[in-house]
């Protein structure tokens, strides 16, 4: 799956040019084993020397290894991390991070930025499931497609993301933003089924097609469909057609992140459907006319 908004090599080069003072991790050899990579975090790199970073532990399958076993490490004591190479099987990169920036030149595995509280993660590729699960701050920018459960809460947990933003410049999978308490998810492509299921109060913007059964169990959350939508659940009731000032604030914010928001979308009217009446019923789905 490639990104919807293709980036030129020049753009990629510019994106990496200002990270020359960070720590660069180059994958030595691709592995088919899953790697638990929660040690790759700006908080853990910022005070460590090159050799200390190399000695940080990772789990490759069931084997405990060090960062230096899997990566060529360049740089030290920085909260900017650049990852180059195939990290599709690397999970939990940036988990719990509170500061700095991680830039990945390629696809990334599951749980990217889970529980993160601050800082920025930029992925120039696709991301697997559970990106930004339970995040509490910061921003994740995915230039390709997102997987399932972006910004969601893990099974058994009452709440998903609580603040922060996830920007997916491609398509997103199923159950995007499930049980979000606060925070913002923007998908410039399409979303799968059950987008914003059991939303508590977060906001999800979908610029492509909003998938089936969106907002099932929504309490107070907002789902905004800027493009096409699948038929809504019968537990949503049409209220009115109006111009929302609050959405303008959101859309200006989204535009400031470099995502394409047209003047027509900014000035447009929205049809408001409230629901889900099987839950609290104070949530909404807003559909751009």
């Amino acid at each position: 799956m490639g990104p919807l908004n293709g980036e030129s090599n020049t753009e990629k080069a510019e994106a990496f040019a200002d990270h020359t003072n960070g720590v660069t991790l180059r994958v030595k050899e691709a592995t088919s084993l899953p790697v638990e990579a929660d040690s790759i975090s700006p908080d853990l790199f910022v005070d460590r020397t090159n050799s200390e970073i190399k000695n940080l532990p990772l789990f490759c399958g069931r084997r405990k290894v060090n960062v230096g076993d899997l990566f060529i490490v360049e740089g030290e004591t920085a909260d900017k991390i650049i990852i180059k190479g195939d990290v599709k099987n690397y999970k939990k990169i940036g988990q719990n991070m509170t500061r700095g920036r991680i830039t990945v030149a390629g696809d990334v595995g599951m749980h990217l930025g889970a529980y993160m509280q601050g800082g920025e993660i930029i992925v120039h590729g696709d991301v697997h499931d559970w990106a930004g699960a339970h995040m509490q701050g910061g921003i994740i920018r995915i230039k390709g497609n997102g997987g399932h459960f972006a910004g969601a809460g893990y099974p058994g947990e009452k709440r998903g993301a609580n603040r922060g933003a996830i920007l997916i410049e491609g398509n997103a999978g199923n159950e995007t933003g499930t049980r979000m308490r606060r925070g913002l998810i923007v998908v410039t492509g399409d979303t799968g089924e059950f987008t914003g299921a059991n939303l508590i109060a977060g906001s999800i913007f979908v610029f492509g097609r909003l998938g089936e059964r969106a907002g099932a169990g929504n309490k107070r959350g907002s789902i905004v469909a800027m493009g096409d939508t699948a038929p809504l659940l019968p537990t949503y009731h049409y209220q009115c057609r109006f111009q929302s000032v609050c959405l303008r604030v959101y859309l200006r914010c989204i535009r400031s992140w470099g995502l394409p928001v047209s003047d027509d979308q900014m000035d447009g009217s929205f049809r408001r459907f409230s629901g889900d009446i099987t839950a609290l019923g104070k949530g909404e789905i807003l559909i751009h006319d």
Binding site: R163, R182, L184, A201, S203, R220, S222, F242, Q243, S244, V245, C246, R248, V249, Y250, L251, R252, C253, S256, M266, K282
Partner: protein, 294 residues
Amino acid sequence: MQINTVEIEDTFAEAFKMWGSRLIITAVSEKWAITTARAATGFGTSIIGCGCEAGIGRTLPADETPDGRPGVEVLFFTTSKKAVEPLLLARVGQCIMTSPTSACFNGLVSEREVKVGGKLRYFGDGFQSSKLVDGRRLWRIPVMDGEFVIEENFGMQKSVGGGNFLVLAENQQAALEACENAVSAMQEVPGIIMPFPGGIVRSGSKTSSKYKGMTVSTNTAYCPTIRRQVKSALPEGVNSVMEIVIDGLSEKAISEAMRMGIEAACIPGVVSISAGNYGGTLGPYHFHLTRIMA
């Protein structure tokens, strides 16, 4: 000191500590943003009788407002920090929320905040909802034309009230023209207001009265019609005086505004520029005219 043959008197304006807030009002058009701002800042000329001093600052183009609509900045000043919250609750609740298409955002980042939207939200009768967008907590209150959006908290900070200068002119027309020029120039300075009608005061006051129960009365020293009956401060040839009062979020803003205003007021027909003070005994801020214009 003289500017364009207008004498700048070697005196100073005496100003006081106040607490200030800056609100950004937006609406569907500049016309409605200004209409809302006028309503919100009405009857806010002097702390003596109005409980606050309020005014309209700059008009803001759409790309400078949080919601991308035309906006206006309004500033409110009052003497006690405890008075800020009830002041804003009343003004926003009665004049901004009621105005068609309006929205209201905090325009002053400060550690000290008062809860305004966080209290007005109860007008939503349980149907209000909040959103945290780009660091701003907004309340959406359903109203008859759609929804009213207001920020939860508004910043307030120590400010300066009562900066002023007096335009002493040969006649009323010259005084008015000079003051209009000054107000027009001063409107470009961010963070200040001139709370009186059109920015100009024609009834300056002194802090005493012959009548019991009156704390202020007309500034007899500058009234030309009684110049021979009182100890007048008017030079020969002066037949009309008008004053410009300035409140600002900082001393620097007031100094800059006074500099621009005095420069613009020095036109033919104006004899001298003076300032109001109480001998330096009451207000901690002193704006010396000759130093400002140096």
